[in-house]
Amino acid sequence: MTKANAPVIEMLTALADDELVIGHRDSEWTGYAPILEEDIAFSNIAQDEIGHSLVWYTLLERLLQRSPDAMAFERQWLDFRCCRFVAYPRGDFAYTVVRQYLFDEAEHVRLEALAQSSYGPIRDAAARIMKEEAYHLLHSEALVERLGDATDESRRRMHAATATAFPQSLGLFERLEHEDVLVRERVFPGNAKLQTAWIERIVATFGAVSITLPLDGSSKPLCLADYGGRAGDHTSDLEQLIADLHMVYQSVSGASW
């Protein structure tokens, strides 16, 4: 690994790991969703997210000479750079919907910015992924709009899920170690800027269903952000998830599957 590439590698790893881990969580609904049609929908989303991680890992392969399978199925859990948010257990369907919605909005602002990146391969990949993400957003936003304003139970669950998920989701915008270089080199505009754009979008959606987020007058979060993931400081939820992910792959040494 060359020193000069370290900032890009750091960012790509975070992007790829976020997608893989949330896709893994989404796939836990395959066979268990509230209704058949939604089962099919979530399985599509899971495939898309995992597919997006594959796009980012493929870019990393050029920089690290390490295959996507090796990155996902051979790396130690502490070497993952996903935010903690994506690794938490899937919870009830309200938590899943809120998490997916927050993630999809973050992806939206992130990809829009990356589609302008000074780094060509990132620009191209972002433009490709953006198209599938747009559909995810349509799907998760439609569910937030409806479940957030339907029955007493659905409102209660959606409020609770948002209260839990919002501080966690700030971890999506945790500062990267090489953030200054990435901003200076115009690889991306920086997490602070992305977070501001993201908050503007989610406030509108949640506001429409009377869910208020803990923000101050200038839209800065008033809660403690659940940081750590970008520095490899993960919770045991990721440890378990990665152990599952690796179980068969690492069960026979030197085997192909």
Partner: protein
């Protein structure tokens, strides 16, 4: 126009079937035809839904990107097939609510195979390869069914099932070419799935009341024994070509008939498993019930949201 008598209608109906014409929703049909079809199609739908579980269990553990994505897509297709089949059954006048209720209450039956456990990764491949091959042989036949909506659903399903078989076969070929541990994993899975798969086509026709009637009205066009023989003839050479043995000493090609002979499965076991007493029946239904109950608030909320908006 003069009303036809019941007898005349039946004659008319059977003539239509003999001419190879399809029966469509809204057509007059004998009550037994309707009942038999609802039973078959809903059982088929339940089998897809319950069938998501034994393989779905392996989604978190699937080794490598390709296998993981493929497995999600495969289990997703099963939900998709269940969806199509429930719809086909609904055209006969039974709601999906009623059918799902019958599944969860344990009243309805579904394919025996999904009540067996999947203790190893090789089970996923073997289900795709053996079980889905048996399913496709049956479903290709059902695509000729006299009931239009069932036949249409089957055409689409057969296409997707061929992906299921290929991915399963591909996974087992990889194991067969792999380490000794992988090869024995594949052999072990074939050993365990052989008889349950043979049972899938149903008991010998002489033992099956439904089968005779279904044949007469071309709900299906081949007997259980024919379908089973087709499966054996197709799969035995494939299994052996991979260096895996068929767990049946009697299994060999009969030079005079051109068909493989095989030992019949234990029909008492099939009866037990179908009527709820297989190794995993309880677990499967409990998982389905739990998912159904946990999803209830979502179904109700989206319904309520629409009802309020419509007011």
């Amino acid at each position: 126009m003069a009303e036809l008598t019941g007898e005349e209608r039946l004659v008319e109906f059977e003539r239509r079937i003999d001419r190879g014409e399809k029966v469509e929703p809204g057509d007059w049909m004998p009550e037994d035809y309707r009942r038999n079809l609802i039973r078959m199609i809903s059982q088929h739908a339940h089998s897809e839904i319950v069938g998501q579980l034994p393989e779905g269990k392996w989604i978190p553990y699937a080794p490598g990107f390709r296998r993981k994505l493929t497995l999600i897509a495969k289990v997703q297709d099963e939900a998709g097939h269940g969806q199509l089949l429930y719809r086909a059954a609904e055209t006969l006048g039974k709601t999906r609510e009623e059918m799902i209720d019958e599944l969860l209450s344990g009243k309805a039956k579904y394919a025996n195979v999904f009540n067996y456990p999947t203790p190893t990764w090789a089970d996923v491949g073997v289900i795709g390869w053996l079980v889905d091959t048996a399913a496709v042989i049956n479903q290709t036949m059902l695509a000729q069914s006299s009931y239009g909506p069932y036949a249409r659903a089957m055409k689409r399903i057969c296409y997707e099932e061929s992906f299921h078989i290929k991915q399963g076969y591909d996974s087992i070929v990889t194991l067969a070419k792999g380490t000794a541990a992988q090869r024995s994993m594949a052999q072990d899975a074939v050993n365990r799935w052989w008889y349950p798969t043979l049972m899938m086509s149903g008991p010998p026709d002489a033992m099956s009341v439904h089968s005779q009637q279904a044949l007469r009205w071309r709900i299906k066009t081949k007997s259980n024994e024919q379908v089973r023989q087709e499966f054996v003839d197709h799969i035995v050479p494939q299994i052996r070509a991979l260096g895996i043995s068929v767990p049946d000493q009697e299994c060999r090609l009969d030079g005079t008939t051109g068909h493989y002979r095989y030992s019949p499965p234990d029909w008492e076991e099939l009866k037990r498993v179908i009527s709820g007493d297989g190794p995993c029946n309880k677990e499967r239904l409990e998982v389905r019930r739990k998912a159904h109950e946990e999803g209830r608030w979502v179904r109700e909320a989206l319904q309520a949201h629409q009802t309020r908006k419509a007011v």
